[in-house]
Amino acid sequence: MVVKCEHVWREISNYLEGDVDASLKTAMEEHFKGCKDCTAVLEGTRNIIAVYGDERFLEVPLGFGQRLHQKLEQNMPRQRGGVFGWVLAFAAILLIVGGVELGSSRAFYNPELRSAHADPAKSSIPEDMPVVIAQDGKVFHRSKNCPFILDKDKAHLHTITAEEAVREGYAPCVRCMHEFMAAAPPPPWLDPHPTDGEEHAEIETAP
């Protein structure tokens, strides 16, 4: 097989790629032996591939990498994964669940006040002091003898501690409890120091 210069030029790139069949390869190599111009084209093309394939040719502007990383950093979402993220998420769930549990606990049960007078902050009633309440009443009293217990409540009296009464939303009777009521002075018609001792003596559970 004999090839001419034009044929060699057409195939020179494929020849350098090793992408010509054996007979053409042999024919081209024979041609190169006798053709100075085609050899110059071959060597020149080989050199082009070599110089452009050299990494030193790939120059980047000064600071290119740094600016690229800055750009990435600006556009990167904040870290959400990882162990620390999972620990944070778990702690948050614990707090929420714990909060719900505590909120529903009896210890933290805080019903709406049945009267503004029930606010313990406004009184100095001893927490463990026995008091009398009526099932459907709104106030608690020092004893069943308090004259301000309504007639309809007298048949349903119970004795509990002041703390329990407050927690249940009962308000202190502003009459019989006046001495403990910091903000409310006793009404002039109520004797602040009963002398008979009977009224506040013993607390009994109503029948």
Binding site: E43, T45, I49, Y52, F57, L68
Partner: protein, 204 residues
Amino acid sequence: MHEEELIRRIRDGEHELFYQLIRPYEQRIYFIAFSILRNQHDAEDVSQEAVLKAFKNIRHFRGEARFSTWLIQITLNEARMWRRKAHANLIEPLDKPADDDGEYRPREFADWREIPSETLEREEVRKALAEALASLGDKYREVFVLRDVQHLSIEETAKTLGITVASVKTRLLRARLMLRDLLSPGWGGSWSSKLSFAKGNKPW
């Protein structure tokens, strides 16, 4: 750490590892953009956009191609879009390069011999190479850059550019021969006089 492992961990949320993944390709990304746009600032902007796009789409990388090829594809697309926008109002030049089918006849037959490796250390040589490459038509430059600068295979080049293998081979032949002529001593071009390239006075 292997590239596959890096990609898996990035997908799992270790985003900061993306720096590590792209660091070996920074130069190549920039060069692809530069070879298409022929402007340093545009090339840098496009490189950044391409890297961001790669980061945002890393979940879609299925490993069917090499990561480098995927990254090059993204960069090439970004650069082409940028060029299209920039040239939207420009009229096509009349002196478009000849079609693929046309024969290209070498014009210079100077004997180059082997180019010493240290020649590339000279800035004026690198500049001359860049200018010669920039003077090629887009379709020849793209094929040449992907195959001979980025070292993609003929098939990968064809796939990346969306053209046939035969077209890649034809364009590659023309690009190589044109560059050879452009860089041959004494061949015209604004760079040749600056470098005192003259017949028999080779730069390397």
